[in-house]
Symmetry: D3
Subunit: 142 residues, 6 copies
């Protein structure tokens, strides 16, 4: 038995029509995937939300698809995704972004270092909050 | 200037009437305080919520007020409150519960140890999630 | 089918060599366990992280292993671990620390009281934040 | 002294040019505000992010600006914003959305009820996680 | 194999006696359910906690059971429960409250809009915190 | 008035003796700072915790101080620290790590892109949890 009980039925790729079919095509093309991941198939139950979310994710994570260059390279962006997802404890997201990062060349050893940094700062965040440490005096913003 | 902008005006102790006045009296008596903390004065803007929250907190944190004995001693309960509040980063709550724990005898050195444990497990929680570690095989519940 | 998909393969106890084998031995000895839990077997995929994390956890949670005495007793430390893990919703961690606390004598009824305190303060934390309650005037730190 | 130290200098409304000026105009018009809130003035330090974030927020929170009707009414959407922000403890966000909800007719008493619901479920979430409660058997998705 | 390992054995409905049996009856009656959900059966391992939690939840979520009228309608209260549970990532809670909201008339499309709002503000909360944006100048509380 | 009320008095640099003085020296040297930040001065109220935390942070964040090379470069490690701290909403930590990242060459525009990624995935994490999306079928671990 599976513990995770999805609250809506994902849209099958073959059932997709209209804007949903267009977004599914774009996801497969931009992400170079054979199948549309469950995340997008579930969002497709509300086509407007699917389109809004994909448009935003594509702009932020795949700027090269629009001929733009991001300030951060693709692997750094996936590293940030893993850091956020591990901090939030989102299992689906951790699996998805770890798979993507491995494809981009992250080694298992580097994943260990990444998660060590994530763990370290989840710990020190709790210390800074737990003592209510006041900010260091900073130079004013220019 | 203060960064924290309360969204409602706290009820003044002298303005309190009816159920609010009764709860304020009970808070001062049970917690042995001269003044009602801001938390309760703000909840008083919705008297039903004030009463429900105080009744629950009193039952859980002050069982001796009803002649009952808790399984956990009062300092352990405040230690749990600090652990939760530091993990959530709730400044008001950290100040309030640290003050209460100091009154119950927690030393500054023990606070350091407590927060070290809190930090440690905020870190390891992120590791267990970040790797999506599967549970150890456990004996079945009796 | 299992929902949780570990992102790396845990190191088998029999495969361990060098520093990993030494840390595994120390874990079994200090924690009085027959088998090394999955958490440590996964961390072993990055031996430096395994050693750093075990050294820290041992110093904070098992001071007696080095002939030191902590300010907080072992059960209180496990109680804090449960409070943090329940607040973060880390399933692996909750199972692991609840098992450890039961071994140290926590009863099922006391677990109920512990989680009642955890639930109470996760609730009041949201209230204090939700109203942005300003801190009570506190005496200055000595 | 203020505790909160912004990490970048907000863009002044009078300095805004190009896409930033256009978005600022749209924010003032759609939200019926005299001044652009700090949130948007800070995002303007990265104009592409300002535009992406505003486009998304406008589509979700102000569908009427595009002649569409949302499934949820505007006050319900602000109520959700308060619930999320109180759960995360985001002070800026709580102030901003509580102000917006008051404008849409939320009374102080209803705010009390809203936050009581938020507190209740932050508490029960911790209980469900703290005991690792298994899901109820649900009917399969149609 | 299931990933979620409950840490205590739920009380069977037929085993319930005394206050536990009374609360179970009240839950079935007020919530119009044939079976008592696992959440309440687990809390029943500590009868005092069961009663306290049910009393509070009933007062906040089912005021009509006591002849009172809440400020927020029942569907809005379940929407808040979903928003909180999605933000915290509590699987049990998300399933339970989504089922309840569907019974009260929430459509799958409206769920999509609700979660779009939840996602939007989890994102903007991180932005407001990530830049440490200072609060807008607000009119003083009356 | 300041909203943040530290719960212990930080140790002054001139008061430091013994192990505290040694760690303070090492912090100034390794981090190339003139003054010891408040975080470390507060941890110094429990010297054992100060030493443990600094040893760990130094090993993970400053491997070059021990002649080692990390898998991730120093700026990437600070980027992860910002991502974690923004997700947790830890103000002290955000200020501290943003300052460090600016020193390592992060531009204000790149900070905008970094926080856009952080915001995006805090949003999608809530979607994946809010729908309880089941994991994609993954190839088994080798």
């Amino acid at each position: 038995m599976s513990d995770r009980v999805a609250t809506v039925r994902p849209v099958e790729e073959l059932e997709a029509t209209g804007i949903v079919a267009q977004v599914f095509d774009d996801i497969r093309r931009v992400k170079k995937l054979d199948r549309v991941p469950n995340f997008w198939r579930v969002l497709a139950t509300n086509p407007a939300q699917l389109e809004l979310t994909w448009t935003r994710l594509k702009a932020i994570m795949h700027p090269e698809a629009d001929g733009r260059t991001g300030q951060l390279d693709p692997l750094t962006r996936e590293i940030i995704a893993i850091a956020v997802s591990a901090t939030n404890g989102c299992g689906y997201c951790i699996n998805s972004h770890t798979t993507a990062a491995f494809k981009l060349g992250l080694t298992q050893e580097a994943l260990g270092e990444l998660l060590a940094v994530v763990a370290l700062f989840n710990g020190t965040n709790a210390l800074a909050e737990g003592y209510q440490i006041t900010p260091d005096v900073l130079p004013p913003l220019e």
